[in-house]
Symmetry: C2
Subunit: 244 residues, 2 copies
Amino acid sequence: MLQEPILTGSQNCAECPIRHRAVCARCETDELQRLEEVKYYRRFEAGQTIIWCGDRMDFVGSVVSGVATLSQTMEDGRTQMVGLLLPSDFVGRPGRPVAAYDVTATTDVLMCCFRKAPFEGLMADTPHIAHRLLEMTLDELDAAREWMLVLGRKTAREKIASLLSIIARRDAILHQRSKDAPVVFDLPLTREAMADYLGLTLETVSRQVSALRKDGVISLEGKRRVTIPDLSRLLDEAGDDAAT
Amino acid sequence: MLQEPILTGSQNCAECPIRHRAVCARCETDELQRLEEVKYYRRFEAGQTIIWCGDRMDFVGSVVSGVATLSQTMEDGRTQMVGLLLPSDFVGRPGRPVAAYDVTATTDVLMCCFRKAPFEGLMADTPHIAHRLLEMTLDELDAAREWMLVLGRKTAREKIASLLSIIARRDAILHQRSKDAPVVFDLPLTREAMADYLGLTLETVSRQVSALRKDGVISLEGKRRVTIPDLSRLLDEAGDDAAT
DNA sequence: ATCCACATTTGATCTGGGTCAAAGACACCC
DNA sequence: GGGTGTCTTTGACCCAGATCAAATGTGGAT
């Protein structure tokens, strides 16, 4: 579908699940070969739904560029985002025939996909891929549980600070920013999407973002470009005990 | 440590992770043999902490009887429960050296444990065990994400109803209750633990439980024994779209 | 039986964030 | 340019659930 694969770094490649992070170094050539045969790319526009909850899902893949979200919606329209998919994140559930959540592109998205059957075959034959997938699922579980603390116990201001610090951290890794480089990034989410992530209303998100700006914790250029002059200050606001 | 393993059902055995549910049927004898050699039991009393977040964790295991919780606490004392461990649930993170959460027994608990190193060795040799573990982790991830919807978007009353319906469902499976048997179970959690699970205060939990009782959705015998005359009514209150 | 340590309920009051409403601020198109 | 749709901000008011406080079970231990 797409001619040239997009590589985001020298060692790490965001385009395919088995080259992900630690696994990458251990890939053998013939495995890669097998995957190449079933690999394809898909593009989605901002706002487009990638899969609906309950749909048959015959592929797995990972986000190459752009941002997508996983979300759940109740009949009366209340929605909660349950996952944020940034470049290099894996999408799909090996062994599960249908999607459990709505997956939506919030910016233009490029995904690298594999048909599920061949991918599962490869998983069965290649223990370290299965192992890597377990690792990734455990990471997602940790992220989900950290998010439960945010949703259940943090104030609106802390929630916003937590979200900003997560995005800042992921953005720093993605662009391999040095540790003391100034922290500047574009918010990939609308106020409404942020609200859906945080269990707030969009009005509250807007007010709290303004408050953080007024207090000098962040500064904004336009509506989306965020600068964080002092990251530790933001982490304080987030109430994070994990002051890594 | 304990002489007689406790079997809770005819086909399904809650005592060891590789006999779990679907995997059980595919276990070969020599694998079981290898696990028997490293298996041991541990007992915990109600209220006792099983592991602290950050502690070195050199075992994995599963809950045989009783109820335990996973929880996270902020420096100022706010706590959020992020997992509820009922009989047959797995505890531990293969490949991770330290515990990520506090694990606490809320009733007396009997756990069936395996030292981590031999268990990981077995995992490496036995694809279907690794596969089963991925399945279980995906289930936990689904549960965590469903809980994010509860925490972020449901009202106090809906939260209580959601918790009760989850416990009722698990209890029915554990005791192999027939589908149309009356739903009666003991709450394994204090009001405070329920509050920590739901992101509420214990006063609000108490008030909402009373309200559900007054409205005839549930009835109580003492503080803990719950009867649910009409399960579908409870599910309505919970706002569950998954009306399975 | 009495005491003690809890868990739980209930009441009174307060407040953070929701709700409703209106007014910017852009971006894009004709 | 003006028009139109979407995103965002801001204001006024309200309410679900938090907070503070006190009373009421309830089950051991002695």
